[in-house]
């Protein structure tokens, strides 16, 4: 039922990528995403492909996860392809009424969709190999320098952590209330839209009541332990860079430099 939904996309594992520092992973991912847009030639695309495939192999994730990460965005991918194929002027290779496909269109379309696919696949590698809590930790650290210009880094991270912490709890609660009301004959799956909306009341009212109760309890518990924000706060698990992060960053940097060179200097 509802509790079967796995939180985020995290896929536990023990690979090189799983053990990287989240900060290195976030920066590396962003850098490579920029580098993808440098790719222009066939050689450059091959390098990008090789790098993405290599990373997937290192991560030891099941191959079907690649498809899973693309599924929610396939409409955008198909749309991008279509727009480029049908609207780029050039050598007409196929025509039907006002629709015409050009050689340049096919070329341009595959380039753009290629970039899009690599972008999605590579960034989902980040969420597949990093647990949400660790990811939040990384984001907090990376946002820290921006505190001077008023970005509440710690507060943002704390809110994200709390939200993530309570998603499974609330899902469990929803599941439980749903079952309890189902046992009393409630029906959540059939009827008209209006009827179904009305049927949600026995689920939503108790859920909100318990969410507010939990929020209140949590606030009390945090205050009782003298929580007063991020000022001067130390952590139990300090993030630290290791030789692994050095290797990974060097690899990404290398690929980026090579792609930039291919684009502008060759």
């Amino acid at each position: 039922m509802l509790t079967d939904i796995t939180l985020g996309q995290y896929f536990p594992g023990n690979s090189f990528l799983h053990h990287l520092d989240p900060r290195a992973k976030i920066i590396g991912t962003m850098m490579f995403i920029v580098a993808i847009f440098f790719a222009d030639s066939l050689l450059a695309y091959s390098i990008v492909t090789a790098f993405v495939v290599l990373n997937f192999i290192i991560s030891r994730l099941p191959a079907k996860l690649i498809l899973k990460s693309l599924r929610p965005l396939w409409i955008i991918i198909v749309f991008t392809m279509g727009v480029h194929i049908f609207t780029t002027p050039g050598d007409v290779v196929w025509q039907y009424g006002i629709l015409h496909v050009t050689r340049e269109g096919i070329y341009q379309g595959s380039r753009m969709t290629g970039r899009l696919i690599y972008l999605i696949v590579f960034s989902s590698l980040l969420t597949y190999t990093t647990s949400p809590i660790v990811l939040t930790d990384g984001i907090e650290h990376l946002l820290n320098p921006f505190r001077r210009i008023g970005v509440p880094a710690h507060e943002l991270a704390m809110m994200m952590t709390i939200a993530l912490r309570f998603i499974p709890t609330l899902l469990e609660e929803t599941d439980r209330i749903m079952k309890a009301q189902t046992a009393r004959g409630a029906n959540f799956t059939s009827g008209s839209l209006w009827q179904r909306g009305k049927n949600m009341i026995p689920l939503l009212v108790p859920l909100f009541v318990s969410a507010f109760r939990r929020a209140d309890d949590l606030a009390t518990a945090m205050e009782a332990r003298c929580y007063r924000g991020g000022e001067g706060r130390t952590r139990m698990n300090e993030l630290s860079y290791t030789y692994r992060d050095g290797i990974a960053m060097t690899a990404v940097l290398l690929v980026t430099v090579v792609l930039a060179t291919l684009r502008w200097l060759v």
Partner: protein
């Protein structure tokens, strides 16, 4: 007329890295009119087991039938079966949602299509069952009650369905002794008068030995013991201990005395019976120690 589980197995998160089997292959039959106690350590599969009984969970493997109807099917008969099996969850007070107590209790009967007159009748009866005065409470908001009273309203909401099988998951957790007695005496009275089947999940061994006629002990997803509670308490202490549960305190005291050489009967349901067992033992001795 019975609930039958045939080769039933249940696994959470099938096909994900979080896959966990909560109930191993199980065959069991629950007969009409039984009062069954279910005990087991936290995580032993109790909650999974009881949720399989009325189709709230569908077994990963095997079939569950209630009075011969497969609850896994999506037919009308399987849906109607739902009101034969009433389920009181742990902390049921968190499922209240209506504006008045009477309307909340009426939710079940209304869903099963009863007439307004019948519904009103059921609400009055259910409120009487849990000891809430209709005149005083019917029109109040359930959210203004104390925790114990909310619990009673929630139980009344299930009782109002008139289930033939009543499943209660830790109904007395967090209640004061008076509230516990009241709820249990009501359940026992219903069990005797209407011959309904009661399945009680509890950590409280005293409640189980006092009321249940059959005891099922779960451990790590397996039914390890199934039989008459007093038999199990007096012969299977080791198995019980290894499953992380204990015999009732009264029985434990009597068994301790037995081991010290007192010849007394440890097959008692209540404190009163224990006292009389001790009394008879001491009376029977030629001279006191």
């Amino acid at each position: 007329m019975s609930i039958r589980l045939e080769q039933v197995m249940y696994t959470y998160g099938m096909g994900t890295p979080f896959e966990k089997t909560a109930l191993n292959e199980t065959n069991i039959e629950i007969h009409e009119g039984e009062f069954i106690g279910i005990i087991g350590h936290t995580g032993s599969g109790k909650s999974t087991f009881v949720q399989l009984l009325n189709g709230l969970l569908h077994p990963t493997q095997g079939t569950v039938t209630v009075d011969g109807i497969d609850v896994g099917l999506k037919t009308k008969a399987a849906m109607d079966m739902r009101h034969k099996v009433g389920m009181v969850f742990q902390y049921p007070e968190y499922q209240l949602f209506e504006e008045t107590i009477a309307r909340d209790i009426a939710f079940g009967p209304r869903n099963f299509g009863l007439s307004e007159a019948e519904i009103d009748e059921r609400v009055r009866e259910a409120m009487d069952f849990v000891g809430l005065d209709y005149q005083t409470y019917a029109e109040r908001s359930p959210f203004r009650l104390s925790g114990g009273q909310m619990r009673r309203v929630a139980i009344a909401g299930v009782i109002a369905i008139h289930p033939e099988y009543l499943i209660l998951d830790e109904p007395s957790a967090g209640l004061d002794p008076a509230g516990r007695r009241e709820i249990f005496s009501g359940i026992q009275r219903w069990h005797e008068e209407k011959n309904i089947t009661v399945i009680l999940v509890s950590h409280n061994m005293e409640d189980i030995s006092r009321m249940a006629g059959r005891l099922i002990v779960l451990s790590q997803g397996d039914i390890i013991l199934d039989g008459e509670p007093l038999d199990i308490f007096s012969t299977q202490q080791e198995t019980l201990r290894s499953a992380g549960v204990a015999v009732p305190p009264v029985t434990e005291v009597l068994q301790y005395l037995q081991a010290r050489g007192f010849h007394l009967n440890d097959r008692v349901h209540t404190m009163d019976e224990a006292i009389s067992s001790l009394y008879h033992c001491l009376r029977g001795m030629p001279h006191a120690h």
